[in-house]
């Protein structure tokens, strides 16, 4: 068997390296942030149902909004007739945010938690005009 040169230093270095690399894992052990709880506005509570079921909205709202922007801008079809027959104007700022006017507690909470940064709000207005000054 060959001798290992600088055995002590190498092993010590490896241990330090392993500790440093795994630091974020054991440092944060058991401290996982709890999933955020959404707050509904009074208006949203009153309406009871969104344009689709809650689960469908949770999982599909991004595809739906992507589909909507295509339909409204490119095809000029701007009215959504929901499964229950109710019609909605397809507008993020004016229909979605009309009920869910608490963007910080509704949209941002989950988006921040899952670290997604949708750039909808660079253009679509998310505040009422009087709050915007």
């Amino acid at each position: 068997m060959k001798t290992m040169y600088d055995k002590d230093k190498v092993i010590a270095g490896l241990v330090i390296f392993a500790v440093l690399v795994s630091f974020p894992f054991w440092y944060n052990l058991g401290k996982a942030a709890p999933a955020p709880e959404l707050k509904l506005t009074e208006k949203a509570k009153e309406a009871k149902t969104c344009i689709k079921s809650k689960d469908a909205m949770k999982t599909e709202h991004m595809q739906m909004l992507d589909d909507w922007r295509e339909k409204v801008v490119r095809e000029g079809r701007g009215v959504y007739v929901a499964e229950n027959g109710k019609s909605y104007e397809m507008s993020l700022s004016n229909t979605c945010l009309d009920c869910h006017s608490n963007k910080a507690d509704f949209c941002d909470k989950c988006h921040n938690y899952t670290s997604v940064n949708p750039y909808c709000w660079d253009c679509h207005i998310d505040k009422k005009p009087e709050e915007n000054k």
Partner: protein
Amino acid sequence: METSRRHFLKIAGISALGIGVSSPLIEAIASPDSDHAPAAAKIVTGDNALHAKQWAMVIDTRKFDSADALTPIIEACHKIHNVPDLAEVQKRHEIKWIWKEEYNHIFSDQEIRFPSDHLKKVPLLVLCNHCENPSCVRACPTKATFKNENGIVMMDFHRCIGCRFCMAACPYGSRSFNFRDPRPFIKEQNPKFPTRMKGVVEKCNFCNERLLIGQKPACVEASNGAIAFGDLEDPDSEVRQLLKSNYTVRRKPGLGTSPAVYYII
């Protein structure tokens, strides 16, 4: 067990028959359930929407008696579309959807050496011509700008990558680029219409969003009848009636873009 070819073919034939017959049967049994399922959601055009094959505009310049008469029209448009006011901050960053221009500047290929007093005094309104054969649409690499079914040259701000090919292609200077975030320069935000972000091109959209809910463009409403709006393909439309009874001109017709904005001078 020994299987003869004959035996194998029999089994195979019966199996194929079984599969063929059973799948429609299963569907027939399952279908009563689907009757109870809620009707699928639909996406439709609003009932009030105005339709045309090619929207067009006739601007009667004789009906404006001063440059100030044009200002409320421009303001009406820029206000509802959240157009920032950058002209005073930095002229080269200015965003324009509809604006005033001298006759000889916009009709440079049919210049008038000695303009009439009226032309000297009152500038013309210019906006996107919503050409029948738009050069900007051919230049756009992402189809962010496209010819709509109703003839409007639309912008899909979602898709614009800010390459500005369309601005180079447009012979009318109808397009503006957002060199900076426009939001701080919008005096009063209209929540019904989005703003733009830095890095996209914008221009007049013939109020497509208003046509969808049955309203005529804002400039037409604010013009007290000086601007007519209608379907170019419909011989009975207001614009066709005006074209029939007046001598009209279009900007740079020789380029072949076929503008849909007509001027009565």
